[in-house]
Symmetry: C2
Subunit: 660 residues, 2 copies
């Protein structure tokens, strides 16, 4: 029996109709978006006054590398990047400012962004966080001033995601008090390393540390790779990755070490030390835990990339929305008036939910940066692990969103979108690797799932699958649906929802939150039970049992990844809701409320199959969601221009021919 044949996606009942909203002032919206670290944003926006930082086209690879090098030097001269470094080195130790600055820098050339990320975020960050006082003293000032360009040499040709399996070795030789850094085979070659092909002089090299004949696991060491004249040092072979999809201004390269000797001092020894006689010591006893503590310093990079992905998405949406407001195609019947692209429902559907989600991600990012700022470098291990999980999840979702949205913007601008002068091609090509670097998104989402499923205080991170299976078989899932920001607000909204779904308004924020919360909890619950059932009474895995453990994990892999996504979706929506609640300007809040409806309902719409499968949406209600999103797009359309203008991207950075 179908009673809904005729309805399909027609307008819903007036109960769920979206109210019209007065347009707030664009600067008021921008102020809300700019938030706590508005000053860092303003500083980077100021670069728009300098022609050096505006988009360029038509440079060949070496010219482009030169150009980015000059930009980076100018950036160093301005001192913007100093803010994240310790006060002893002229900085303010202000992580929030640093990450926000980096996010804003993504409005400029993305090759510059990545070059800066490698030099100051990864290379400088590793010295800062994995090194000790003497490393800081010796290197940081030069790193900050770009007098010492460097590399972060972790990834190898054979291993990227599985960092524990890296094959480069650093063997201690007590006879000379040196480490011997060596590339044993082609798979162990360091690959895709930014700053390596042309500029880098010193590299943070991740290698298996061997002392006293024993492998101590992966550690980071400082290895000089070029002399002052730029020539490769003896034993170091440097290759060039050559042409890439994008980011042509970054000199990615390959490093091979042939028994390269470095002083013992060059071990970045904050978490582990090697004595002159080769004795190995560490304050962290568990090798796994030690490894993940070191890796934890990567969290800042992941947060930064999530923010940068957001900025690139904003640039693309600004271009596409402004073009869609201007571009006309096909007449209104019986008239000579041509319809603007943005008046077409299909075009609204392409751009407006993506715009709304970009807003949601902006606030989720702001919340994450607050947390990073509060937690990083502190002693709260639990908070640090949560931060890492949040960063992993948001990095993955934000970069996937960037890839999909920039692609959609390209297509929505038609042939013009394919021309370099309209910026979308470069935005697409440059950001395309964001889903891969700083952690492959699929691997990151797996990490999120694992964190959700384990009481990681007890069973410190272990990436192998039998581990996951064992964890889950041993304990109840308890930490799920832990509240994000504004716990009490979210709880109040959820609690106020009528008991029966059918009685809830689709535009009831509590109802939307409740749906996402239900999905996350149910998915994790199901994944946990399946893993437990699969693991049965099996003990520690080895050999054929190892294979069985893998199969058990593998059969649930898609389920785990979906659960992680459900978690991140909830976290994002809660951040958006909390930000609106914090918003003092009523007009801005009202508009953001509309935007949040588009985000929340289009997220639920995209996952409506799941809700239908789990009897959480009726067919009629599911269709009503689609109709409501359509209606919301219509009412948001007049505000589209304001919403992109509020991103505050300086015009010189936009500079697309189709907007002139």
């Amino acid at each position: 029996m179908r009673t809904d044949d005729f309805a399909d996606t027609e307008a819903p009942t007036s109960a769920t109709a979206a109210p019209a909203v007065d347009a707030p002032d664009v600067d008021a919206v921008r102020a809300v978006l700019d938030g706590r670290w508005a000053q860092a944003r303003a500083a980077v926006r100021g670069l728009a006054d300098e022609p050096l930082f505006r988009p360029v086209y038509g440079l060949d690879r070496e010219q482009y590398r030169d150009h980015v090098w000059r930009q980076a030097q100018q950036l160093a001269a301005h001192g913007h990047i100093r803010v994240g470094f310790p006060e002893a080195h002229g900085g303010q130790g202000d992580v929030g400012s640093w990450v926000t600055m980096f996010e804003t820098l993504a409005f400029t050339d993305l090759s510059l962004l990545v070059k800066a990320g490698v030099q100051w975020g990864l290379f400088g960050g590793a010295i800062q966080h994995l090194g000790t006082e003497r490393h800081h003293r010796r290197y940081l000032d030069d790193v900050i001033a770009l007098r010492l360009p460097g590399c972060f040499a972790m990834t190898e040709t054979g291993h990227g995601s599985d960092v524990q399996a890296l094959r480069t070795t650093a063997t201690f030789d007590p006879a000379t008090d040196e480490f011997v850094v060596h590339t044993p085979d082609a798979e162990a070659r360091k690959d895709y390393i930014g700053n390596a092909a042309r500029d880098g002089r010193l590299a943070v090299v991740f290698a298996q540390l061997v002392t006293g004949g024993e492998n101590r696991g992966v550690h980071a060491l400082l290895v000089p790779i070029r002399d002052a004249d730029g020539a490769a040092l003896p034993g170091v072979t440097i290759g060039d990755c050559g042409e890439k999809a994008g980011l042509q201004g970054v000199d990615n390269g390959r490093l091979t070490f042939d028994h390269v000797r470095i002083p013992r001092d060059n071990l970045l020894d904050r978490y582990a030390q090697v004595a002159a006689d080769g004795t190995y010591t560490s304050s962290i006893e568990n090798p796994n835990r030690r490894f993940f503590t070191m890796l934890g310093t990567l969290v800042q990079g992941r947060v930064s990339i999530a923010g940068a992905a957001g900025s690139a998405t904003k640039t693309a949406l600004t271009i596409a929305v402004r073009y869609a407001e201007r571009r006309r195609q096909f007449n209104v019947p019986g008239t000579d008036d041509e319809v603007t692209l943005l008046d077409y429902r299909a075009h609204q559907r392409r751009l407006l939910p993506a715009l709304a989600t970009t807003y949601a991600l902006h606030f989720a990012q702001a919340t994450l940066v607050e947390r990073l700022h509060a937690v990083l470098g502190g002693e709260d291990t639990r908070a640090q692990r949560e931060l890492e999980s949040r960063a992993a999840g948001l990095k993955a979702v934000a970069t996937w969103h960037a890839t999909a949205t920039i692609q959609e913007c390209r297509e929505a601008c038609g042939g013009a979108g394919y021309m370099a002068e309209n910026r979308l091609p470069q935005l697409k090509a440059d950001t395309d690797v964001f889903t891969t670097f700083e952690g492959d998104n699929t691997v990151l989402m797996q990490l999120v799932a694992k964190e959700l499923l384990t009481d990681y205080r007890e069973q410190f991170g272990n990436l192998d699958f039998s581990g996951t299976v064992r964890f889950v078989s041993e304990q109840v899932v308890e930490t799920v649906v832990e509240r994000t920001a504004a716990r009490s607000l979210i709880q109040r909204l959820v609690d106020a929802v009528p008991g029966r779904d059918e009685d809830a308004d689709l535009l009831d924020r509590g109802y939307q939150l409740k749906l996402l919360e239900f999905r996350e909890k149910h998915m994790l619950d199901g994944a946990a039970r399946r893993l437990r059932a699969a693991s049965g009474s099996r003990g520690s895995a080895s050999g054929s049992e190892g294979r069985a453990a893998f199969e058990a994990f593998n059969n649930v892999q898609d389920h785990l990844l979906a659960a992680a996504r459900a978690h991140v979706d909830r976290v994002i929506l809660e951040a958006f809701v909390a930000a609106i609640d914090d918003c003092a300007d009523a007009d801005v809040a009202a508009l953001l409320d509309q935007v949040c409806h588009v985000h929340a309902l289009s997220t639920i719409e995209a996952n409506r199959a799941w809700f239908l499968e789990h009897d959480r949406l009726t067919p009629a209600r599911s269709k009503a969601i689609t109709a409501t999103v359509n209606e919301l797009c219509t009412s948001l359309r007049p505000h589209a221009r304001l919403l992109v203008d509020a991103f505050g991207i300086p015009e010189p950075f936009l500079d697309a021919a189709i907007l002139r």
Copy 2:
């Protein structure tokens, strides 16, 4: 009540378990794929012996244009492209061979492909199909031999999709027996024109034809743009589109005409003629119909692009699958064995359904080419319109599939996928505009919807929306679910399905077909009713009524586009089913049957929300589909390598560093 908490996506009951399949011989599969025009494929594959046609990197734009020009000259010298031209000009008038050759050429450099498409497909095709005997005599031999490089100047800066709104004018001056071709304003500039920036000497220009003070609508005329030395002719201003996202070897440019005079003879006058006194005649009385008849010659280009998109997708999948079979990451627990990427479920999910759909599209393309070969140039208007609709739909779906799949392959290869030497970046960048050129995909899908909703024999194509509304309000939808290939076979399969869905096996092909058929019919039905209800008793639209008519259309636009997609999905599946039925080799057929299950069920899975909303899937059955696709991926995994090898892409064309 939920009875399925525990099940989620676990394995289905054994009733739907996929049987294991013996691996057939790869050459046997290739022979089936190669099909009727295997010879054309073999000829192009032979180009792999010549270094000139292998992938190159690192050329700057002008070097690349030179390189592509040399490739095109060599192609002309070989005479491959002659096959599509009339026998009088050394060809065989064999459209099927031409299009198949073009499809295979997409295994080589895609800039060469597009350059060839412009020169011989669009430019040569327009002279052949829109011109008459004297044009053929004067130009075709030179066009074929590439002695006369030319352009197809349709799109303008202001109008692309809405060709009837082009603004360039060609005004007949009886005093001199000439047309005056003119660009009245910036919007009327010809834009993105291939071959224009560097090589083109003659252009087919689409312009509003004015004779006797009356506008006769858009017609095509031959306008010389460069002299033999390559200098722009008087009155012609030529610009360069410069850097693009990809296809850097194609010299796209811009043309502006300042009262350029051309002889009356230069009107391509197959469908309309202008006499010396300015008298306008045409065998097609209805101006709209005349316009769409001329535009109908574009159909070959759309079919060609659909095929080329398929080839590019195959190249990307071949690289990604072979890499995923070789690349290992993370150990099997308790062992030193690292797991290959393709053994992970998430990785199988990324690649194998896309691979299956690539097979489906291959057979849909083969069916379309058969139809093109049979219909093109014939007198059957109805068949021609159907062909155009099929071509539009398949072009859109195949190019969207290419965009999504190549992107997925890039990401699935991680950092390596971002390196130019591994070919994926260029494949992505070059194909990205396929969704735009030869008809924007969204506009094409709208065309498909309109064709499905109208009895176009009576009410010949009218792109305006009031037209659409009126059509639908006047008549019953009758031509839906018209059978594609192998009508009786499909009907037999559908008829054999048990009356109750719950009794049907998920691997019952008839059941799968029935679901897609139901979706198409129901969506079209609903769209028609909504349009009729909206149009009410309104007469011909004008002014404010025009706006209302637009709103009525616009409210249904997403529904119409979804209906068109449902239609194309059905057509594709039916083509695949028919191809398997035609397959004489039992082992090949058994494997293709498995591939078809993955395609069909993953298509239904992607649309399961709709089936749930329309009570055509129960929640439990919907979940079982997901579980079955997972299981099918597992059983297809051992055949993945064979399936990509069967595409028959010569190794020199693959040439990715990660496969060496």
